[in-house]
Amino acid sequence: MIFDVVHQSLQARQRLIPVQALLGDAKGSRLPEVSGRSLNPQLAERAVEVCPTSALTLHHIPGGHVQLRMDYGECIGCGHCAEAAPSAFHVTETFTRCGVTRGGLVRRWDTTTGLEISPEPGCDPAELAREIRSLIGRALNIRQLDAGSCNGCEAEITALTNPYYDLERFGIHFVASPKHADMLLVTGPVTRNMAEAVRQTFEATCAPKVVVAVGACGCSGGIFAGSYAVVGAVDAVLPVDGYIPGCPPTPAMLMTGILEVLRRWKQKMRTGQAEEHRPVRVSSSQLLVKARL
C-alpha cells in the first residue's frame, strides 16, 4: 500500500548534509594533491612517467629549473602518481578548484625548491556558503547535456537530487528543455556524432547561457582525447564559463562548482564584462552535418 511506503520513509533518519560540510568536500574523488615541501625532481619525474594522461608534465625553464605542471582538467584520478611517489602526492579529501576557469585548473611547482609558482586561488567554500541565497536568487534551472560521456558523470549528477544533497533546497532544478534553462551542465568529450546536437542545444538555450564543462572528459577530453570519434573537450564547441574536474566529480564537487560558476558570472555582470552575444565556437559551416533531430 502507498501508506506503508510513505510510513517506512518517514521513519528513516534524515541524511541532509549541511551546506558548510558539502562545499569543498572531495572524498571519494581520488584527485591527487601535491605536497610541495617533499617534492623533488626525482619524485616529480616518477609521477610524470606513470601518469596515463598528460595531467602531470615537466617543463624545463631557462635557468636550469624544472617545473611540474598539474592540470586537474586532464586528471582521471587513477592514483598512479600517489602510488609511485607517495611522499609527494596524496589523494585529497578537499578540493576547491571547481567551477573555475580552465587556467584555474592548472598548478605549477618548482621541483627543486618545491614552491608553488604564482598559484591561482580556487574557490572559497565558506564565502560560497554565506552567499548561497544571493547567488541563486529564487531559482536556477539547469539543463544537463551529455555530449558523449560514459555516464559516470550522469550518475553523480543524478545523485545531487538524492536526500543527502537535495539540490532543490537551494532552488536549483534540473529541467527537461534547454529553453527553460539558465545553465548547461555539459558532460563527456564532444563526440563527432553529438557535435551538431550540442551546438543546437546551446542555440536553443536562453541567455545568459551559462555553460559548465563537467568531468575530465568535459574539461580536456580525458582518457578519450585524441580518439577519431571525438571532436574534443566541451570548449572545442561551446564557450565555457567554468570547469568542474574529476572522473567523475563527486556530488559535493559538482555543487561547489555550480555555485562558483554563478559567483564568477555575477561578478562579470557587475563589472560589465559579460558578453552580450555568445556564439558557438564552431560554426555550422565547419560542421557540415545535416542534423536529424
Binding site: 511506503v5 510513505v6 520513509s9 550518475a155 538524492n162 568529450p189 551538431e196 546536437a197 580525458g222 578519450f224
Partner: protein
Amino acid sequence: MIPDMLGFMRHTNTTESLHESLRSGRLVSVFGTKGGEHKLSIHYVVDAGASGYQFFQFAVDRPVTSITPITPAAAWYEREVHDQYGIEILGHPDLRPLVLHENWPEGVHPMVTAVGSVPWASGLYPFLEVLGDGVCEVAVGPVHAGIIEPGHFRFSVMGDRVIHLELRHFYTHKGTEKLFEQSPVARGTLIAESVSGDNCFAHAVAYCQAVEKAFGVQVPPRAAAIRLVGIELERMLAHVADVGALCGDVGFTVPAAYASRIKEDLLRVSAACVGTRYWRGIATPGGVNRDLLSAAASSLAAAVERASGEFASLARKVLNTASVQNRFEGAGVLLPNVARDLAVVGVVARASGIALDVRRDHPYGAYTEHVPDLPVFHYGDVLARARVRIEEAVVSAQLITKIAANLPSGPTCSAVDFEKDAQGFSAVESPRGELLYWVSCRRGQIARCHIKSPSFQNWPALPFAVADNVIADFPLINKSFNLSYSGCDR
C-alpha cells in the same frame, strides 16, 4: 583452471561447424581483427553451454556470408564490422551504417585506415517508414528530457499505440576499441573503466581477467574475493537505483527518493572503505590495487546488510501497491522466443524465462566457489524485470556479507609480465548481463581489444517490447531494460 579454456582452444573453422554451433548455442559476439599486411579476419563467439565459449575465426579474402538470416542476434554485430572494417557482408537484410553517422564520408573505415582528420560529410539516414492513414512519426532525442545519455528513438504511432520503434544510437561513439590499440596493457584498465561509467568495475574486472588469461596469471584468492565484493556491490547499486527509478517513472516519488538514499548510503560507505565511490581504480591486471582491510570489510558488510534489509522491505511494499501493479504488470512484454532469437542477456533474459548467468554458467574468479541463486521470471514484462532486480539485489547483498566476513588471507596482486605476445578473453556477469572482453597483446601493448557489452546485445530487443504499448509507457519500459548508451556505442 577455468572450464571454458578448452572451448577457447578449439578453433573448428569451417562454416558448417559455425552453423552447427549456432543451432544449439547462443551467439555471443561477432568482431573483426586486422592482422599483418592488412589481412582482415572475422571472429564469431558462441556460448555452447557446458562446453564453454567457442571461437571461430575466418580470414576475410572474399565477401562474408551473413549469419543474420539464421541468427537475428548477429544483425548489429555485422553492421558494426561492416562500418569498422569495411568487410562486405552478403545477404544481410539491413546494412545501413550503424556506428558511423551521416557526418562520416563513405568508404572511411576507422579500424583499418588511419583516421587523422576525416572531412565532415552530410547525408540523411533512411529510417524505416510505416505508411498508412493516421500513422504519425514521433522523434525523440538524441538529447533527452532528463539526466540521461543521448540516443534517438523514432516512433511510428497510431494514436497512442506504438506500431514500430526504430533505434538510432551511437551518438556517444568514442572510438574506444581503436583507443585500446597501441596503448600499454596496464593503461587498458583505465579505458575499460570509462566504457560504461555505472558498470565501471565490471568492465575493469572483465578486461583484467582477459589480460590475466592471456598471460596465464593466477589471481590471488584474496584479490578474487575483493573483486567479487566490488562486482556484487555494483550490481546492488544498479538494481536499487533502477527499482527507485521505475517508481519515479510511474509518479511514485517517495520510494524513488528512498532508493536513491539507499544507493547513496552504499556509495558513501564505498568512499570510506576503498576511497572511491564507484570502485574506479581498484582492479588491475593480476589482482586489485587496494586491500579491503578487516575493519573496512566489516563496516562495508554491515552497511550492505542494512541497505539490503531496507530495500527488500521497501520493494515488498512497492510491489503491494495497486497503482504500481497496474502500471508494471503486462507493460513491455518481451516474449521468450524473441528474447532467444536476439540472444538477450542479463536481467532482460532472466525476466523472459531464460536462465542465463555467466556467474553460474561459466564461473570465474571467486564465483567458482560461490554460485549465486538465479531468480528467473517468465512473464517478460516490466514487473518481471523489476522482480528480477529486487531479488538479485538481495542475493548480491547476501554474497557480499558472506565473502566480506571471511576474506581469504594472502597477497592482493600477482606480478604480470606483459612482454610476450598473447591473446585472451573473459566474460563477466555485469549488472546488465554478460560482458566479454577479448584482447590480443603484442610486445606489452594492446593490438586489439573487442568489447561485447550487454547493452549492445539487448538494445535491439527493446523495440519488440515497446511495440503495441502506449507511447506514454515507453520511458517505463526503457527504464526496466536500463541499458547503457555509452556501453553500447563505445
